[in-house]
């Protein structure tokens, strides 16, 4: 089934690992929508969250090829699980005096934060699931989006299970 899949990988916190993973995706021709990387609760390990586009065959290859890398400790596919996703965006919108209050109202509905204000622009911080962020972008478009930056999705499984401990088994077991 073609679609977007979220993969979370726990990797060694060493220079070159991110380059290795990016290189792997490039050389195998996998389509990445976003890639977020940061520290975890374990100082020696980072977590990389990748959103990959493709069908089940591609997804299986992505999981297996990532798992093959020595610096990758665990690979978990989150798409099929009960999980929480967030994407954080900073967006700078044209906001001349007459339009400002509308923009601020929409921002409040979306529970966003105004983080910067200048004579002609407002910078807003929005975080949430992808649909929420996309919806806000569409609402801001008519005003004029000056600049936009997104972190890409990060995700975590609900409940007590720890994704970093959850082992991905080889295909046939």
């Amino acid at each position: 089934m073609e679609g977007k899949h979220i993969i979370s990988a726990v990797v060694e916190n060493r220079s070159g690992v991110l380059a290795h993973i990016a290189g792997l995706f490039a050389s195998r021709g996998f389509n990445i929508d976003s890639l977020a990387v940061g520290e975890t609760e374990m100082p020696d390990y980072s977590r990389i969250t990748v959103v990959v586009r493709g069908d089940d065959t591609i997804l299986e290859q992505v999981r297996k090829q990532l798992g093959k890398l020595i610096s990758v400790i665990r690979v978990t596919e989150l798409s099929g699980t009960d999980h929480v996703e967030r994407d954080l965006m900073l967006i700078k919108v044209s906001a001349p005096a007459g339009k400002r209050s509308e923009i601020l109202e929409v921002t409040e509905v979306f529970r966003g934060n105004v983080v910067d204000i200048s004579p002609k622009h407002i910078m807003i911080e929005i975080s949430g699931p992808e649909q929420k962020v996309e919806a806000f972008i569409e609402l801001m478009r008519p005003y004029g989006i000056r600049e936009m930056v997104r972190t890409g999705r990060v995700a975590m499984m609900r409940g007590g299970e720890n994704a970093s401990k959850r082992r991905q088994k080889p295909q046939e077991e």
Binding site: V11, E12, G16, A19, H20, G23, L24, S27, T57, E60, Q61, K64, Q65, G67, K68, L69, I70, S71, V72, I73, P170, Q171, E172, E173
Partner: protein, 556 residues
């Protein structure tokens, strides 16, 4: 005890039982070479190009089963190794490559002879490590050997800045290797193996498709027992040649683009394909959509990412070939399958491998090499027509006797690999089957062979062309031979003699046997220039994108 990084390197090499080191010195590795001077138990083989060192370490590893070790300096030394690393990576060869690097504080500063070695080699090595702290050097090296030799083997590169080799550490070499991200699955799931056994016992038209993984796992004897116990014909890939004796009546020999017609027909008509230690490469499958249309597929492989990568697999078994075959063998039963073998015999009679009658045919040279050399001869090849004729016309009966760059297809591989193989197998006959194009790619290694008194026999199938490409141009591009004629070839006999080797030329079919006998009996490095039919083709051939039962040439 405080000792330098260079000394620690040799401590680890000794612990790992390394006996031979191939390489070429340079500024960033002088401290290592200085430490080498005090190491009487490690034989250093100086090649004449780092690529030669890499391929020699590769040949050593394939012939012996032990990891090959090579060393090069930073910058151009390391970049010269890349082809050899990619070659080893593609064919799963255990190798540890040590490269020098500029001083740690100069990295990233465009220093003299600096290259981003780990960046450049990342996609072509199983793993690589830049060691920035001498206290970590021992663990990095131990880890490198562990990774290179376990699971699906491969080349591992350790990049060592020159100041790390001169700094000192008193940390002992810890025998334990801690790699939380690396746990190869070798056992094989018993439930899957039972399913596989059931499928085998019910199959009417089974075929075993065996690859290099059998040889890596040292499972040739078990494969033979399986084939004989269950009465199943066996075909091998290029890298699997030698894992099953080609003299056995069960052997279908090699399959694929230039495989035998009967192997290809058998696979296409099979109802069960048992793939062990092979990866369904495009040279084997031809048009994937049409490959083995009626067959259920069992795939035994130690690398889970190879399973169901190209083709849907019905019964996957992740594991080491040896361990899986040990568990499978007691569960399979003999079945006569008389009709299946009758069909196979008919195919064998109707379409054996053939070639034209007169003249000095390269296929004839290979057959004579087969006839006149001992069974445990190591045949190395270059790439192209020479490689395919060697695969087709030499009958392999033992593992680790066929060394060839299968995945990457590297011209210039065979000669340095033969050097490595001869060092691994002193006393055995080693042959490099070459073309006039390929042999010139690492010809400088003649000095290495002669200096080390290696009686390697280089058999050049000299047709004055880049043969395989010329063949494609003849068959598919209207004989437009662009870039394929090779004028200006040296006189190979004089060239051999210039290096201090023996040079022989054969222009007549009747002189082939004598030249080979002379070379095989000589303790010196020998080069035989066989001036063969210039436009001979490798047949049968599966054209690119065709199903493998649609072969051209050499068919009746």
């Amino acid at each position: 005890m405080e000792r330098t990084g260079a000394k620690i390197l040799f401590e680890v090499l000794r612990q790992e039982g390394v006996e031979v080191l191939f390489g070429y010195p340079g500024g960033s590795v002088i401290p290592i070479f200085d430490a080498l001077h005090d190491e009487p138990d490690i034989r250093f083989v100086l090649t004449r190009h780092e690529q030669g060192a890499g391929h020699a370490a590769d040949g050593y590893a394939r012939a012996s089963g032990r990891p090959g070790v090579c060393i090069a300096t930073s910058g151009p030394g390391a970049t010269n190794l890349t082809t050899a690393l990619a070659t080893a990576n593609f064919d799963s060869v255990p190798m540890v490559a040590i490269t020098g690097q500029v001083k740690t504080h100069l990295i990233g500063n465009d220093a003299f002879q600096e290259a981003d070695t780990t960046g450049i080699t990342r996609p072509i090595t199983k793993h690589n490590i830049l060691v920035k702290d001498v206290d970590e050097l021992a663990h990095c090296l131990k880890a490198a050997f562990h990774i290179a030799t376990t699971g699906r083997p491969g080349p591992v590169l350790v990049d060592i800045p020159v100041d790390v080799t001169t700094s000192t550490s008193d940390k002992p070499v810890d025998a334990d290797v801690r790699l939380p991200g690396y746990r190869p699955h070798t056992e094989g799931n018993m439930r899957q193996i039972k399913l596989a056994a059931e499928a085998v016992n019910q199959a009417q038209r089974p075929v075993i498709y065996a690859g290099g993984g059998i040889i890596i796992a040292e499972a040739s004897d078990l494969l033979r027992q399986l084939a004989e116990k269950a009465n199943i014909p066996v075909t091998t890939t290029l890298l699997g040649l030698g894992c099953f004796p080609e003299t056995s009546p069960l052997s279908l020999r090699m399959l694929g683009m230039h495989g035998t017609a009967y192997a290809n027909y058998a696979v296409m008509e099979s109802d069960l394909l048992i793939a062990i230690g092979a990866r369904f490469d495009d040279r084997i499958t031809g048009d994937i959509a049409k490959f083995a249309p009626d067959a259920r597929i069992i795939h035994v492989d130690i690398d889970p990412s190879s399973i169901s990568k190209n083709i849907k697999v019905h019964i996957p078994v992740v594991g080491d070939a040896r361990k899986v075959l040990e568990k499978l063998l007691p569960l399979v039963k003999f079945a006569e399958r008389r009709d299946w073998f009758a069909r196979i015999d008919a195919w064998k009679k109707k379409n054996p491998l053939t070639y034209g009658p007169e003249g000095l045919r390269p296929q004839y040279v290979i057959e004579q090499i087969d006839a006149l050399s001992p069974d445990d001869t190591v045949i190395c090849t270059e790439v192209g027509q020479n490689q395919m004729w060697a695969a087709q016309f030499y009958r392999f009966t033992q593992p680790r006797t066929f060394l060839s760059s299968g995945g990457l297809g590297t011209m210039g591989y065979g000669f340095p690999a033969a050097i490595g193989a001869q060092i691994a197998c002193p006393g055995r006959t080693v042959v490099d089957v070459a073309g006039d194009g390929s042999i010139q790619m690492n010809i400088q290694e003649m000095a290495t062979a002669v200096q080390n008194e290696l009686p390697v026999n280089v058999c050049i199938l000299n047709n004055g062309y880049l043969g395989m490409v010329r063949q494609w141009q003849e068959l598919f591009y209207n004989r437009r031979y662009a870039g394929t004629p090779l004028p200006g070839n040296p006189d190979f006999v004089k060239l051999a003699e210039a290096y201090g080797a023996v040079g022989l030329r054969v222009t007549d079919r009747t002189d082939v046997a004598d030249a080979l006998k002379e070379a095989f009996g000589s303790p010196k490095t020998c080069v035989i220039d066989f001036v063969v039919e210039p436009e001979e083709n490798v047949f049968p051939m599966v054209p690119a994108g065709e199903a493998i039962n649609r072969m051209i040439g050499g068919m009746s």
